[in-house]
Subunit: 365 residues, 5 copies
């Protein structure tokens, strides 16, 4: 069931159909969606946030097991656009700042009676640029969920539809939405980590191939390894800060997290830990690749050096002999002999062959 | 006794006779085995899981010390095949997902009234590929054990037979099976870690031999070290996540773990720690090998360089002298002298010998 | 709101208008400012510290919700100048030493009934010298705040004005000033960390460019990487010691920190953690740059080596052939032939071309 | 006192007189010794273990302060030989396995009412092989001590004699023996760590000497550093697992450890920590040696390279000039001049001297 | 005040006037001093330890606020010399061993009713050898302080005088002496750490200068970096073990530490932490220096290589041309032409110039 959710969502995610979401217009430019849920079921029609909240609260008073809530989805709201929402739900000023600011750290922090989570979404954009970030902020209260998305990736539309197909889960209240989003984001991490593994394999086979270090590509091997390291750093900064607070959600009782949802957070923590272990493992591997690459290049250099030396030694023989018989002394008896020239040529060839064999035998050639 | 178990099992394991286990057919394709145990003794005959569970529960009600349980063995069940088992034992949906999903992290997690453990099995497939993974999932409840195996290695048939030969152990209930499997898996880690040690010794003797870095093999030394590092990473990912939860089983009371079994888990933890220490030690050693290899190659390069320089200097002498007397000036008195030629030859030979000795003395040749 | 504070302050900070602050003269050379606040509002006029303190205490006795306090700003006071202030507020002798000494570690320490915080301020002075330090010491008591500043950067004038524009915040008492300063300092860290990121990008593009390692600049690439590492170390020493005590302020109740201010400190801690993660990430990146740079240089060296070898082999052909026909033997039939010379020239050219093509094909040229 | 014990023991240890211990024969092949102690005094004569245990228990019942115990010493017992001892003292089956198995991890673990400790002994066998391991297992119960030794080193005979000379210590019961053995083993670690320091100094002076990297020895510098690192790893695996359980013995109350013995364990922990710090310090130093060695070799290579270049440039001058005047043109007026030859020789010599001086000045020669 | 103490002491320390301390003779060779203090004031005259102790205890009984104590200073006592002191103050045998043994680890350990601290003193002996160690052992009891000093540095005479000038501090009892010594020792660490920083700057400017790696000095750059690393290791071993126990003194109540002294220990801990951070920062910097040095040397090697190649190519032109016209063929029409010689010379010069420019342009020359 929860797996099916992921699969459904992921497929949709691949298509990347989000920015033109039809729900964008009716409620102003930043509010993508605003729906009430009660007892796990979606209430009919879009309506302004205050109206939806009023309806849900009435329902909750009537039926204490309803766990009804309003889910407002925003996309890159400005300070002004968010101000009215913040006022409606009486958010703490720091939570407001946390929700709207750019360049935030991923985190899960409790404020008086709400819980604010910031997630970095990562996408895999081919071998050129592995990791790219957007942000999803989730604020849950007792009877509302606010989701704020920025960046091109990570549309929550398909996720909302998948969740609506599981009324049992939605009936557990706002924390089920927080879990669904955390699960969705963390699952992407696992996908990207696997993609990074493939990239590493490509680099490996380039670096350890026979023609490694030759030509244009060879000169860039080290740069590619570095590029991967840099992306892993970016990736690590998106994932590491989440592990402690997510574990806290999974293990410590909190009034905002339904007890039936808590084991689901342990599952998310587990996936996050897996991605984290992969990342730090790859990071160490990349260091080793560089190190091994360097050693290998040095070995090859040694070979070139030995080969130069050997050929220089072989060429030195005719040079020296010809030099001697190129001197212009009047009295050089060998020069007068009929057999001098062929004898010298023979000596040169034989000496060269002997030296060549010697170098062959000790592995220099 | 527990050691004998291991020995018996390991020998069987070496033979790798598992996929064609005769128990596979009677109970459908995925269910390899389904047997009830009471008071440590195997109940007669195979029967469907629900029937076996009914019988065991009846027995347990009759004799509260019986600790009877049903042990169902599955091999790579599909979602559908597992669904009926999950329903029979009323498993938590997340536990079901954990049991059937691919690419899981090793773990030991409690759900309401069951305990789920995922182990990665590793095998040693010769020097080419050291580490290969399968998975064993164990779910224990108050009166049942479900084991799910995937991959080619790690048949549990021999282990089951060995356990059945120790009724005292089996009489302690389901946790005795969990321990036997954990012990079996972790013991394999120790065996593989020792095998990795041998591989490292092979690499060491290649890297530090006199002919290191020469020929085809020499070019691959660094690649082999890297290959070992990569496998250790894989190995680490199989073992590290287990250490904390296994230690918890050994030290914290749990209703599903019989108190008499708890010290046995401490023993398993100890073996796991040993394998873990070996692995991280080898990992560091491999870094040092690369580092030392690089230093050694550089030293050798220096030697080659010095040797080239020395020979170039020696060859420069006849080249220069012959060059001088190869000039075509009309007035070069030496050329006319009868003793010119032998004198020049003597000068050249003496100069070369002197220079050669000089280089010998300062260690360049 | 708190963000607006930062923005206002930062803009002022950029202008660096501090040393000539007009408030410097009236109260002696070191006392830059001395103002009383009650109920978040500034009391009229400058007055000597003892007078201001007396007035505030009277006010606090009258209205227990007033949270009035005196804020004294000092700039590099001498021991003597600080002695009178210390006496007035009955500071612990160790706190006095901590406040006036040079070369202190950043810290937040409680003394009997005061809290002393030492912050290192960092400034970004262009690409030449990234990090430069001043110090701000803050001492808060029940009804006073003492701020001591040293170094050229980090004037607190604009910050004071910005705070005075937020009477609600000031009305929470002395801890609001401590927070404002901590927030201001830590925000600078984030700015500088981002600036360092830009520097790293500059170094990256220099190191991985095609002409890396050539000419004057190339020789300094490694030195620049090292320079950045050194500055990060300095930066780390300014930030790391703060994280634990700031987290303590955010999570542990303290009589000097108003409960409404505590979540604000969590916000500061979060920003500090972000800067800290950036720094240690960059630190690791710089190591990798050096490592990759080295590997790349070695690859290039290999290429040069192969190219030398190839050209030396090509040049060896005419040298040997010409050497042979430069010998002075009487009986060398080729020398007498009319076609000898053109034949030899042809042989030389053909041999050179063939060898050249061979090297081209195996990638040496 | 405790120091004197060490000294006495260590001296004996140096002599390595153990395998032919006379106590071996009387009680079967594996039992080296079996003596009862009461009130710190040795009871007369050897006798079978069951008889000795009966006597001691009688004594303890008579005098509750007697702290009497039987000390059985075994040397590499087989499973069968140990079985009777295990039965007599009613040992837990896992403790039996732990006591007899090979390849165990050092540890201190409590079983129901006994404490089992496994120590690795290390010896320093000259510069060739620094670290060599044996094992000592100690099992203490309320009124017995079982020591099991394997390997050539670490005879406990002298230690037993030294302890018997300190009846006060023995009178504190079985834990005094455990301490004496722990102290003895850990003290050896300190001795070996100091010996390793000397080895490192030898390597240092080889690596940083003027003739470093030359000749046969030079080629092995890196291999020697690696060899030391490998031995430190072995050493670390012997010492690290002990630190936590020994600290637990020193700080946590345990019914088997006499309170008066506990501070002595803190002393042992302290020595172990010292050895551990030394080891990890040396480990880091060896990395730095390799690193520095590499840098130094590269510097030297640079020098060789510059020197080759300089000499090649100097030799190029006469080669070119002589080449010119070796040409056979009919119309070369210089060749006809009487002063041509001496003039050319002068030009060559002057040019060479000038170039040589130039290279001297810029440090290439 | 506490700062003034440091300054006074440090100045004296610089003079290094200790071994000939006049107090050495009167009380036997090892006892340097023995004085009683009561209410912070020094009691008149030297007297034997037992007499002094008797007097102080009498005083303490009379006035419970007196906090009187005896301070005995020893210098490298033998076992025998220390035995009588140990007996007088009824020290634990392990404390005695700890006090007299050589090669101890720095530590602060409590024994029954005393506290024993071992400090390593470090001195800065110029650039040749940065770190040198002595030891100060302090034992404090309820009414006595024993200080034992070994090594040439670290005389406690001036410190005693400075303390006697602060009777308020002394009146807090024996822990005031322990603090003064800890403060004194740790302050030296800060001084030495700053001195090490200067050494690192010297190494930096040597390694990154333009003539780095040339001549005798260049060959030793790596060795110097290593030397500094080794000294930092020594330094770290002196400081690291102290941080935990000193922090314990600062934060945990202890009957032997006067409550008014505890904040002073926090100050010491803070200084120790600063020195520790500096040391580990420098340690990492030295690694980076080596790494950067290596990269820089490789870059320079590349340049040399390119320059050799370029010059070899230039020289190859005249060599080949002259070789051709040095051949002795009868039919070489160019040789007969009047313009042959000047034409060939022109061709050679032009070719060389063109090639030279080409290499200039692509940065090889």
């Amino acid at each position: 069931m929860i797996r099916n959710l992921r699969r459904a969502v992921r497929r949709a995610y691949r298509r990347k159909v989000d920015l033109s979401h039809p729900a964008r217009s009716p409620l102003g430019s930043a509010v993508v969606n605003c729906v009430g849920y009660a007892g796990g079921k979606r209430q009919s029609g879009h309506c302004p946030p205050d109206e939806a909240l009023r309806r849900v609260r009435k329902e909750n008073r009537a039926d204490s097991d309803s766990n009804g809530f309003v889910w407002i989805g925003l996309h890159e709201p400005t300070h002004e656009e968010f101000a009215s929402v913040a006022e409606l739900f009486e958010l703490h000023p720091l939570a407001v700042a946390d929700a709207v600011d750019e360049h935030r750290r991923p985190k899960v922090v409790p404020y008086d009676d709400i819980l604010l989570a910031v997630f970095k979404t990562v996408g895999y954009a081919g071998h050129d640029e592995v990791v790219e970030s957007g942000e999803i902020t989730v604020i849950i209260g007792r009877d509302f969920v606010i989701t704020i998305r920025s960046g091109r990736y990570g549309s929550l539309g398909p996720l909302r539809e998948a969740l609506e197909a599981m009324p049992d889960q939605l009936a557990k209240g706002p924390s089920s939405v927080l879990h669904a989003i955390a699960d969705f984001v963390v699952d992407e991490y696992v996908v990207v980590a696997d993609a990074v593994e493939e990239d590493i394999e490509v680099v490996e086979s380039a670096v350890f191939s026979e023609r490694a270090g030759r030509g244009e590509a060879g000169r860039n091997d080290a740069a590619r390894v570095y590029q991967l390291k840099r992306e892993l750093l970016e990736f690590k900064r998106a994932t590491t800060p989440l592990s402690r607070p997510l574990e806290a959600l999974a293990t410590q009782p909190s009034p905002l997290i339904a007890p039936a949802i808590r084991p689901y957070f342990r599952d998310v923590t587990d996936h996050l830990a897996r991605a984290g272990e992969q990342i730090s493992g790859y990071d160490a591997l990349l260091d080793s690749i560089l190190q091994a690459h360097l050693a290998q290049m040095t070995v090859e250099q040694n070979e070139s050096m030995r080969r130069i030396t050997a050929w220089a030694a072989i060429v030195a023989v005719p040079t020296m002999v010809c030099g001697v018989y190129g001197m212009n002394f009047d009295h050089m008896p060998e020069l007068r002999s009929v057999y001098g020239y062929p004898a010298v040529l023979t000596v040169i060839v034989v000496a060269c062959v002997v030296i060549h064999r010697g170098f062959r035998r000790n592995g220099w050639l």
